[in-house]
């Protein structure tokens, strides 16, 4: 009786579908390990499963730090998706946020050192939001597809940041940005919990922001408007919602989230710098699978981000064995492919639920 009740619960159906997908993905991943290096496949697989836990508390801390930026870019993609927009421009928004944070951290020396990191983070939020707003405005007023504009803005953003870095915060000897030492994020006690790891207040901020996004989407009238516009723009207009404003705000929030991710990562004291190369920030694109795996639910995205971070750490530790590092990327990719099937699993669970209910009746 209880099982059938559980199986009929809507959120249980979604969550269990994601979990089935992950398990299947892991199984296929194991097959790939077997093919690429049969003798060490099982050892390698165990390392991946242990992920961050391979390195004790330090590994766990690094795992949290690793998942922090992709939780935020995942939120960026997921939030836009919940409101009917496909934000593929998280990469550009991310790197603009990163630049704004570094610029403020390095150049705005007039701000007291205690507040500098906070101001720098606000800078990253504003920069990301403005970059997202461009796609939003074009979509709202000219009905230009946001996928196209945001892809283009990724490249524009990357080159613009390269240009800006060289002209404002350039470390000529290393061909990268200057370290924003004065604005490094505080550790907030995370270094005591996870000694010698890179984790800092950024992870806490990411989780708090995710919860905030959940509340906005599910509990407020503002979120109700954004979702209504996402599901049916015409009906929202009919209902008197300002649908242009909603679209622009959605994209601004999505951009702000990605920008904050960039700010948090580049203000960490881990030696991450903007390098002046022609490569898009991968964190932006990794947000897409994280959002998918988390079913665009902000709380789900926390766990999806942690999971991908965990796998990444597993891949890091797996380098002890004789595996090419790309294998881990292939495994994550497989899990993403499977997650596209999660709808099929959802209906499978529904059939199971019906059968069970039929028996108990």
């Amino acid at each position: 009786m209880n099982i059938s009740k559980l199986l009929n619960n809507r959120s249980f159906k979604s969550v269990s579908a994601s979990i089935i997908v992950i398990l299947l993905g892991l199984m296929v991943g194991y097959l790939i390990l077997l093919i690429s290096n049969p003798r060490q496949a099982t050892d390698g697989f165990i390392i991946i499963l242990k992920g961050g836990f391979n390195g004790g508390l330090r590994g766990v801390g690094n795992m949290l730090h690793n998942s922090m930026p992709i939780i935020l870019t995942g939120l960026s993609v997921g939030f836009a998706f919940k409101t009917g927009l496909f934000n593929i421009g998280a990469s550009g928004q991310f790197i603009l946020g990163a630049f704004a944070a570094i610029y403020i951290g390095v150049r705005w020396t007039f701000i007291p050192i205690e507040f500098l990191w906070i101001v720098a983070l606000f800078g990253s939020i504003v920069a990301g939001a403005l970059w997202g707003a461009i796609s939003g405005i074009l979509k709202a007023y000219r009905n230009v597809n946001e996928v196209i504009t945001s892809i283009m803005l990724n490249y524009i953003g990357m080159y613009l940041v390269n240009f800006l870095v060289v002209n404002t915060v350039f470390d000529l000897t290393r061909n990268q940005s200057i370290s924003p030492i004065r604005a490094y994020l505080p550790r907030a006690g995370m270094n005591i919990l996870f000694p010698f790891s890179s984790v800092n207040v950024g992870f806490i901020i990411a989780v708090v922001v995710a919860i905030l996004m959940y509340i906005i989407l599910e509990k407020t009238t503002f979120g109700f408007e954004l979702k209504a516009v996402g599901y049916n723009r015409e009906a929202s207009r009919y209902a008197g919602i300002n649908e242009k404003k909603s679209i622009i705000l959605s994209m601004m929030i999505a951009g702000a989230l990605a920008g904050l991710g960039g700010g948090l990562l580049y203000l960490s004291s881990t030696g991450k710098h903007i390098e002046v190369v022609d490569i898009l920030a991968s964190e932006g694109f990794n947000g897409i699978p994280v959002a998918l795996l988390g079913l665009s639910n902000p709380l789900g995205i926390i766990f999806a981000g942690l999971f991908v971070g965990h796998m990444n750490m597993g891949g890091f530790y797996m380098q002890r064995l004789r595996f090419v590092p790309e294998v881990i990327d292939i495994m994550i990719a497989i899990i993403i492919y499977f997650s596209a099937l999660s709808l099929a699993f959802k209906s499978f669970i529904e059939t199971m639920a019906r059968k069970l209910r039929g028996k108990t009746l």
């Binding site: 599901y231 049916n232 009919y238 209902a239 008197g240 019906r354 039929g358």
Partner: protein, 511 residues
């Protein structure tokens, strides 16, 4: 017993709803067998079972006396069962010929051999008198011809059991007559037809026997010739239905909405969609804007509700000029709008029923505190409306509106618009695509609203509706009002003359 199709004790469940509960359908060879029921009665589900789209939980299907299992539409096709769906399944940028042969192409050495197919199609279209142009592209031909293409598709596959799912819903009166002739012709040639509908006139016109479903249950099968329309509708709805609309004398009050010299430029052509239109809507009356589709009614309503900007003229509501006021101003100060397209404008299909019922009021203090949604009052509101307006759904307030039947979706919109306590209700084709019971319900709601002193502006294409419930009629033709008539004094024929632009009323002459 000479049955071509026997569906015995079929049961099919969906989450929260039993769509078919122990239903039996027996179709004789060479008959037109009508399947009658309200929206959501389970007609389409039953046919989807027969066509292999759904697998039933219980029951057996016999085709020509042999028990069969139908797991997919191909299996149904192999058994000679074909279906014309309510929404046609045609490839829009393919030709008629290509659509008909799609999936059963004649091939030689891997190359298409269209010539033979074309000959066969021309022969078939002559035999059954189905006029089509084999080389025309689907998107260029009329809806009626598209339907004939669907029928030819079945004939080309040599199906002899033909299912028609609400085939007349999309057709003009002339096309309906032609379809009826085609159906009779098909039966003469030895085909058997299952005809899904909720229109009693059509059943009377062509069907031999009729099986009735109600709320997923089988009610019975009767001979059409010996059963009256009233008896059939009673079987379908479960109670007596009054075809005549009873209403009291209108108690007309002051003007509440006044349109003065309104003009809107067309998006499609260079002329005006609405050209210098003026009228007054008064409290306690149902004013009907009649006209053939596409003569500016849609644009007029969009202008009144704020969905479309006005290019000239003014709209006064309670003596205030609202020509340039926002949509929200209008729908929160007493102008309700039952939109023409309930899927495009009326509902957010992926929201729940409870969410849709507060679509325009979610921001009121009643439903939120400091921007946080008050879920309890939202739920209470939904339960209240569901009870009061008898909105049926699988899971109550948390049902996704997408999964509800058309009639209940419309009831939800009417409930929401009426419950706002409006002064003006603009109802655009509020009964389009609905069954007898739902139409009666909506007409009664509109008349009740009128009797409560509210003003109703009804836009309708159905002449019987126009003449049945309105207190005053204005006719629109090519964006202009060409006449202002009294429904008790005008005949259908005369109204038709106004609607086709061949007659103009006094004071509406050409300038």
């Amino acid at each position: 017993m000479d049955y071509v199709i026997e569906m015995l004790n079929i049961t099919k469940e969906f989450p929260g709803i039993i769509a078919n509960d122990n239903i039996t359908l027996q179709v004789k060879k060479g008959e037109i067998h009508a399947l009658l029921g309200e929206n959501g009665a389970g007609k389409s589900t039953l046919m989807s079972v027969l066509f292999g789209l759904y697998i039933p939980e219980k029951g057996t299907i016999k085709v020509r006396g042999k028990e069969v299992k139908i797991y997919n539409p191909n299996a149904a096709n192999d058994l000679g069962i074909g279906m014309v769906h309510q929404h046609f399944k045609l490839v829009h940028n393919f030709s008629v010929l290509e659509n008909i042969v799609l999936g059963v192409e004649t091939v030689k050495n891997g190359f298409l051999k269209m010539d033979e197919a074309k000959k066969k199609i021309i022969a078939l279209s002559k035999q059954y008198n189905l006029r089509v142009e084999p080389d025309a592209i689907i998107e260029d031909i009329s809806v009626g011809m598209q339907q004939r293409v669907e029928i030819l598709k079945m004939l080309y596959r040599e199906n002899d059991i033909l299912i028609f799912d609400e085939p007349t819903a999309v057709l003009t009166p002339q096309e309906i007559d032609e379809l009826m002739k085609i159906m009779k012709r098909l039966v003469e040639e030895g085909k058997s037809i299952i005809f899904i509908t909720h229109k009693l006139n059509e059943i009377k016109q062509v069907a031999d026997r009729v099986s009735v479903l109600r709320k997923g249950k089988y009610i019975g099968t009767v001979d059409v010739a010996s059963t009256s329309k009233e008896e059939m509708s009673e079987m379908m709805v479960g109670r007596k239905v009054v075809f005549e609309i009873n209403k009291n004398e209108a108690n007309i009050g002051d003007t509440i909405l006044s349109v003065k010299n309104l003009s809107i430029n067309s998006k499609v052509h260079g002329k005006s969609a609405v050209n210098n239109v003026s009228f007054d809507l008064r409290k306690g009356e149902i004013l009907c804007v009649a006209g053939i589709e596409g003569n500016g009614q849609t644009e007029l309503v969009y202008a009144l509700t704020g969905l479309l900007p006005v290019d000239g003229g003014d709209i006064f509501y309670k003596e205030e000029n609202i020509t340039h006021k926002s949509i929200r101003f209008r729908n929160s100060t007493g102008i309700s709008h039952i939109p023409e397209d309930r899927h495009k404008h009326g509902l957010v299909l992926d929201f729940t029923l409870a969410e849709n019922l507060v679509l325009q009021t979610y921001f009121l203090n009643q439903y939120q505190k400091f921007g946080f949604i008050d879920f309890k009052s939202r739920l209470k509101n939904a339960e209240l409306m569901i009870n009061q307006y008898d909105i049926r759904s699988g899971e109550g307030p948390i049902t996704y509106v997408r999964s509800m039947s058309g009639g209940n979706q419309q009831k939800a919109i009417v409930a929401r618009e009426v419950e706002k306590d409006p002064d003006v209700i603009i109802a655009v084709q509020p009964t389009r695509g609905l069954d007898v019971g739902a139409i009666e319900y909506i007409h009664n709601q509109l008349i009740n609203q009128r009797d409560m002193g509210r003003a109703v502006l009804l836009i309708s294409l159905e002449l019987s509706e126009v003449l049945g419930i309105s207190d005053r009629i204005v006719v629109m033709y090519e964006g202009e009002i060409v006449g202002d008539v009294n429904p008790s004094e005008v005949t259908q024929q005369e109204l038709g003359l106004y609607m086709s632009g061949s007659k103009r009323g006094v004071g509406y002459e050409h300038k």
